[in-house]
């Protein structure tokens, strides 16, 4: 009666569930079977919560039967393994948390569960969200469903691959420097990073507190709107969450592009862009013009400083955020420590992977006495200038259009020994985090090897509605987002 959930969007499923044409239990069962079949190869999930998912699905069916369903009631999704889930292993893809079962629930998962969503499991990621290829996970690399010799992007690589491969109707990721948008682009899905503070960070294991933001990873902008509606809003448990009303994203979804001004930042098209990406983005520009948008050239002169600024600030915060993993209260602890120093040193030496250690060292260095002013303080100042650039651009335009990545997915192992090359894969996404803005990546074409290409729409602070409706208008007129990899 129900064979392939992979071809449906979340909105489709919601409609079918509401009409009771399908049950959440069947849908969940179908996804679980698909996950169990594909995961040994794709490795998109670290933990599959079959029992919990089936229980939640049955519960959802009762509510749907009683006509008490909401848009997310009974919808099976995956969540990145850095959201604390009460009673469910939460590893952050690190050995240091390989046994950590939180006694509390993150606000994001709590709100999603409250809205009726069924959690299928916890998706793979780069260790502590540090990486752009999902190769730093303690639980193994994730493969790109479009070409399993390639990376899915990172750090939300498992979440991206899961949506792309139909291992869940949608997933939740987090984006510190591009970790939702970059893997979304490389796996041909839609990924939304909301405004910093729009979604609570409570219970989301921190990488860089001033940059981290949770968001939906979906097949369509419409699906992203449905999920964001449940996730967004002020949380008294997060002092950095924004206390502003949450608009009705679905109601604004059909606003269209007629008369809207889209800025084209020249710095994003200057150099380093692969010919395929450049060509596909040119096509997208034409498409947007046909939909009634006006393209306006703009400049973001500080763009070139984004990567160095980010790689000072994010590791600085991380070096401090990750100090709590000391083997004392939870998580991995080394065996037979001689004394407290040995316990700290060996627990962390054995528990953290190389990329995490690299960033802890970077961050410790830039905060050290004598270096603080030259690195951290200067980077803070540059961060303000980057935000000012965007502000100036948004005084002229409503949205910005940019490629999400300079190139399509690279080969597994290709950049693992060259951290700088790896860091450069986030060159188009990082400054959006530094400025705290909302941005969405949506599929807009394929390269000569049939690998997906994504484009970014960047909005003003709290204008998630603006970028969602623009993305929706584009998706209504194009088919790129409907393509799936053959598995």
């Amino acid at each position: 009666m129900f064979s392939d959930p992979a071809n449906l969007t979340l909105a489709n499923m919601s409609e079918l569930l509401k009409k009771r044409e399908i049950s959440s239990e069947d849908l969940t069962q179908a996804f679980l079977e698909r996950i169990e079949g594909l995961n040994p190869d794709i490795n998109a999930y670290i933990t599959i919560d079959r029992a919990g998912a089936i229980t939640a699905a049955k519960e959802a069916d009762k509510r749907l039967d009683a006509k008490q369903g909401e848009p997310l009631t009974g919808i099976p999704i995956g969540v990145k393994d850095l959201f604390c889930t009460k009673g469910i292993l939460t590893t952050c893809a690190s050995k240091i948390l390989n046994n950590f079962i939180p006694p509390y629930e993150s606000t994001v998962t709590s709100r999603l569960k409250g809205a009726g969503a069924v959690i299928l499991g916890k998706t793979n990621m780069d260790e502590f969200a540090m990486g752009s290829s999902n190769e730093t996970s303690h639980f193994g690399v994730v493969k790109n469903p479009w070409d399993k010799s390639r990376i899915p992007g990172g750090s939300s690589g498992g979440s991206a691959a899961a949506v792309s491969a139909g291992m869940g109707s949608a997933t939740i990721g987090t984006d510190t420097g591009g970790s939702i948008r970059q893997p979304a682009a490389l796996t041909g899905i839609t990924g939304l990073k909301p405004t910093y503070g729009r979604v609570s960070r409570f219970g989301m294991i921190a990488f860089a507190s001033s940059l981290d933001q949770a968001g939906p990873m979906t097949k369509t902008a419409e699906d992203a709107a449905i999920l964001l509606q449940a996730m967004a809003g002020h949380d008294p448990k997060d002092a950095t969450s924004i206390d502003a009303p949450v608009p009705d994203y679905m109601a604004n979804l059909g606003d269209g592009l007629q008369g809207r001004k889209i800025g084209i930042p020249e710095e994003y098209f200057a150099s380093g862009l692969s010919p395929d990406v450049a060509r596909v983005i040119e096509d997208a520009k034409k498409q947007l013009t046909e939909l009634g948008a006006e393209l306006v050239p703009v400049s973001l002169p500080t763009t070139k400083h984004a990567i160095p600024t980010y790689y000072i600030l994010a590791p600085a915060e991380a070096s401090s955020n990750l100090a709590r993993y000391d083997g004392i209260r939870f998580g991995y602890r080394c065996e037979n420590p001689e004394d407290i120093r040995d316990l700290f040193f060996r627990t962390r030496a054995e528990g953290f992977g190389n990329e995490v250690k690299r960033r802890i060292m970077l961050g410790t260095y830039v905060l050290s006495s004598g270096y603080y002013d030259a690195y951290y303080l200067k980077a803070q100042k540059v961060r303000r200038l980057i935000a000012d650039d965007f502000k100036a651009a948004f005084s002229k335009v409503d949205l910005l259009l940019a490629p999400t990545t300079p190139d399509t997915a690279f080969k597994l192992g290709e950049k693992t020994n060259d951290p700088v090359q790896m860091y450069l894969s986030d060159i188009f996404t990082i400054n959006v985090n530094l400025a705290g803005l909302p941005a969405i990546s949506i599929p807009c074409g394929f390269d000569k090897d049939n690998l997906p290409i994504g484009m970014q729409l960047i909005g003003r602070p709290l204008d998630e509605s603006g970028i969602l409706s623009a993305a929706h208008a584009y998706q209504q007129a194009t088919q790129w987002h409907t393509r799936s990899p053959i598995l």
Binding site: L82, F83, C84, T90, C92, L97, F100, P102, P103, Y104, S106, R201, F202, G203, M204, I205, A206, A208, S209, S210, P236, K237, D238, A239, T240, A316, E317, S319, S320, A323, R324, Y325, D326, I328, R329, F330, I340, F344, T364, L367, S368, S369, Y372, Y376
Partner: protein, 485 residues
């Protein structure tokens, strides 16, 4: 204490006060002591992954109060920073504190010294921070326990200018500061239990020198007495070093109260690099002037203002006013007792003050008790003073009643009634006693009438003896004079 007249001592103090908020600074756990280890904790204060701090407004208000009480500038914008270091009882691996932008700057307080009244000591800053847990090494071999109950207790760090010049200055500063935080009811001021902790920065220099000498930091000072002793020891040590041609090394030294010495804990070279940076989980703290004004309007009366009132309105001496406002409990006791006296219709604050500072404090000191432990309540002391003021008992009888109250407790009115100590004020019975005495002392009566009027005292004494001290001496005098006419 000028240990060597050629040297001047320079002292600055850093005081940590634990605030008496209902809950901890960044979570909802109760802020209380004495509970079973690790029973007052939650994922937030225990530093679990993904949790976030949320600022306790009660703490901010206490910091503002304290800042206002020392005439400090309350900053409309202050910033929390992380102080990073690894320690088992610091669960996050960093302490949330304030670094370059504290909530209070440029305060002052005044200390009273015998030769230097109202000496001003600057307060550089007050900042808010969070306390750490406790590591326990006793009762276990080859391991340590960690108790996180104290993690998240709000602290104010109050940093003075290097304005103190002797251990006496330091002692007076601590007493005044402790009185202020107790008057404000923001901290219980208990040094032994660590809710009021002090580190001292000490250096010496030749008199007239402009530059400060190299300073050392003294820690583990759990009483005002220990602060003063440790400073004296350190000043001696530093002068000896300089006199013998050595140099003072910048270091942190731990005071050993049992041995009365300090020893080096760590040198400047071993000092931590705390890698301070702004706390990204907490937005900068902004305050409205109206909020500061509200708190200012509700500030309780503070020791200096209260002492002035005691002098101006009650006519107390500067000394008595100082003694009665040195501790919150003392002033509360005095005011409560004095109210009883006033209620009895015989306002006499001087008499009340005298009874508190001389009789009560004398006895408390003798027995090694503090005012909180006084067996005589303020109400009962007030009643006793009122009994004297209304002429119910004489001062002499009152001392006996007081001794009784102190040893066995009780209400002075009842004691006077039960023991029949009430002054005889009935003129009939006094006249009868006077007539008896006059009849049995004809020689003295003769002498009085012959002009030797000083004999009256002898006759008064006889009447008082006969009444076992209960007769009102003034009335006895009056009746005697009438009869001797």
């Amino acid at each position: 204490m000028p240990i060597d007249p050629n040297y001047e001592t320079v002292i600055g103090l850093e005081v940590h006060t634990q605030l008496r908020t209902k809950s901890k600074i960044f979570c909802g756990c109760p802020n209380k002591f004495g509970a079973e280890a690790n029973s007052q904790i939650c994922p937030v204060c225990a530093g679990f992954p993904g949790v976030l701090p949320v600022m306790n407004r009660e703490m901010v208000n206490m910091a503002i109060k304290t800042g206002l009480a020392i005439n400090g500038q309350i900053k409309k914008l202050s910033v929390f920073s992380r102080k990073n270091y690894f320690y088992p009882d610091s669960p996050t691996g960093y302490q949330i504190s304030q670094y370059d932008l504290p909530i209070v700057e440029h305060g002052e307080l005044f200390i009273d010294l015998p030769d230097e009244p109202k000496k001003r000591i600057g307060v550089t800053r007050i900042h808010m921070e969070v306390d750490a847990g406790k590591s326990i090494h006793e009762g276990i071999v080859g391991a340590s326990w960690v108790d996180l109950n104290r993690v998240g207790t709000p602290l104010l760090e109050i940093v003075s200018e290097p304005d103190m010049r002797s251990s006496e200055d330091a002692g007076a500063y601590l007493k005044k500061l402790r009185a202020i935080v107790r008057f404000l009811d923001v901290c219980d001021g208990n040094m032994e239990e660590g809710s009021f902790r002090c580190d001292a920065n000490v250096s010496v220099r030749h008199y007239g020198a402009e530059k400060f000498g190299t300073r050392t930091e003294l820690k583990n000072l759990n009483s005002i007495r220990n602060v003063m002793r440790a400073i004296d020891f350190e000043v001696d040590r530093q002068i000896d070093l300089i006199e013998s041609g050595d140099k003072v090394v910048q270091e942190t030294r731990l005071w050993d109260a049992n041995k009365n010495i300090s020893r080096s804990m760590r040198s400047k070279e071993d000092a931590h690099d705390y890698r301070y940076f702004p706390e990204p989980d907490l937005p900068p703290l902004t305050l409205e002037q109206s909020h500061i004004d509200d708190i200012k309007a509700k500030l309780p009366e503070l020791p200096d203002a209260m002492a002035k009132r005691f002098q101006d309105e009650m006519g107390l001496s500067e000394y008595d006013a100082g003694v009665l406002t040195a501790e919150k409990e003392m002033s509360t006791y005095f005011e409560e007792a004095n109210q009883i006296v006033s209620n009895a219709g015989k306002k006499n604050a001087k008499a009340t003050a005298n009874w508190v500072t001389v009789e009560l404090l004398g006895r408390l000191n003798k027995d090694g008790l503090s005012i909180e432990d006084s067996p005589v309540s303020a109400v009962n002391l007030g009643k006793l003073v009122a009994l004297i003021q209304t002429g119910e008992i004489s001062g002499k009888i009152a001392k006996k009643v007081f001794a009784h109250m102190f040893d066995d407790g009780g209400d002075p009115e009842k004691i006077v009634a039960e023991k029949g100590l009430k002054q005889v004020t009935d003129s009939g019975s006094i006249t009868a006693e006077v007539e008896k005495v006059l009849a049995s002392h004809p020689d003295q009566v003769e002498q009085y009438r012959g002009g030797k009027t000083q004999i009256l005292g002898f006759l008064v004494g006889k009447v008082m003896q006969a009444t076992r001290g209960k007769a009102n001496p003034a009335m006895v005098n009056k009746v005697l004079k009438e009869k001797l006419g």
